[in-house]
Subunit: 201 residues, 2 copies
């Protein structure tokens, strides 16, 4: 090793590798298996790049968005993936994820731990244009993958259109055009029987 | 759909999802399975962020590096992953990957296809500080994962230290401190019997 800064950075990256083992509820595009959080994070980073023109404010600091999304789910190494529609899991999510952030970003040299941890906090708080845009794309992607898989995961978990709207409506604040598209995709999913509307719950 | 630009962008992202199915030679950190190219691309994007201070020139445009690495292996959807030490595969690699880049980036609106394709070309050519740094980190990560897996993939493929040096020495142009670290890791791998030095080939 050539110095303790590099040692700490590499220890962080080795620990981060574990995100490849954390599984999400949704499936990959061909429906063959569950998606892991590392590959989701890659897909989201690419999507944030490609869809940037659709952000609410007309422009976001894309470098900042990409830094944010590449690390937005790192905490799931310790805290696990909490399904968006798991009401019980979401009660303890914040505490579990905050502890995870302290441990994981704490592996880095202090001058890196602080700003990267702050980027994660910013993503979670959704108070800046960058975080709102990142949060919107983070909602769009699983919706798109679930639609492609003809709603299998929605059906297994008994999810309705109304529930999705409740948890994803904030997309309109970060990327209104993407939210408009998402709503039409959900309408189509209901029409095709991939997803019940609320009344059929 | 709310317009053909968004349609094309989403078609690109759905196609990109296939990268989650392309397998690399090296294993994930715990050695339990082969790594796929999507999760490698995420790990590389995160590593590029965390290790940026080790770039050769003292500073790189990190936003540019991150855009470059998030899409650097997209061509493998069509061209497959060509193992670094597969001399025969590498003869046709360039042609296969160029065709793939045309098809894949061509799914995007023209004004996006051109700059993103150019970023991929820049990564491949390794002529800018950003591309040299990105290329260095892209060599470091599989080396680190192979070391953690006690050289299993090196052994299966009959790889020697001398071969790795031949293919990875350009790391010194992009991130000299990372190359210094890599050499000491390779020395250690030889000492521990994870990797033969050249003479034992």
């Amino acid at each position: 090793m050539s110095g303790s800064r590099l040692e700490r950075q590499l220890a962080f990256l080795v620990e981060a590798d574990k995100l490849k083992r954390v599984l999400r509820q949704n499936l990959v595009g061909d429906g063959s298996r569950r998606e892991n959080v590392a590959e989701h994070s890659w897909h989201l980073t690419l999507a944030a790049l490609v869809l940037a023109e659709h952000c609410a404010e007309g422009a976001v600091d894309l470098g900042r968005v990409m830094r944010m999304v590449v690390l937005h789910d790192l905490v799931e190494i310790d805290a696990g993936d909490t399904y968006l529609y798991d009401a019980r899991g979401r009660v303890t999510k914040q505490v579990r994820e905050r502890q995870a952030a302290e441990r994981l970003f704490g592996l880095l040299p202090g001058d890196q731990a602080e700003p990267l941890s702050a980027l994660w906090e910013e993503f979670e708080a959704r108070e800046t244009a960058e975080a709102r845009y990142a949060g919107a794309v983070d909602r769009l992607l699983p919706m798109l993958l679930n639609y492609l898989a003809e709603g299998r995961v929605w059906k297994v978990n008994g999810i309705t259109r109304a529930q999705i709207v409740e948890h994803c409506e904030h997309m309109k604040d970060g990327a209104p055009e993407l939210w408009k598209f998402a709503q039409s995709m959900l309408d189509d999913a209901v029409a095709k029987g991939f997803l019940p509307a609320d009344c059929e719950r």
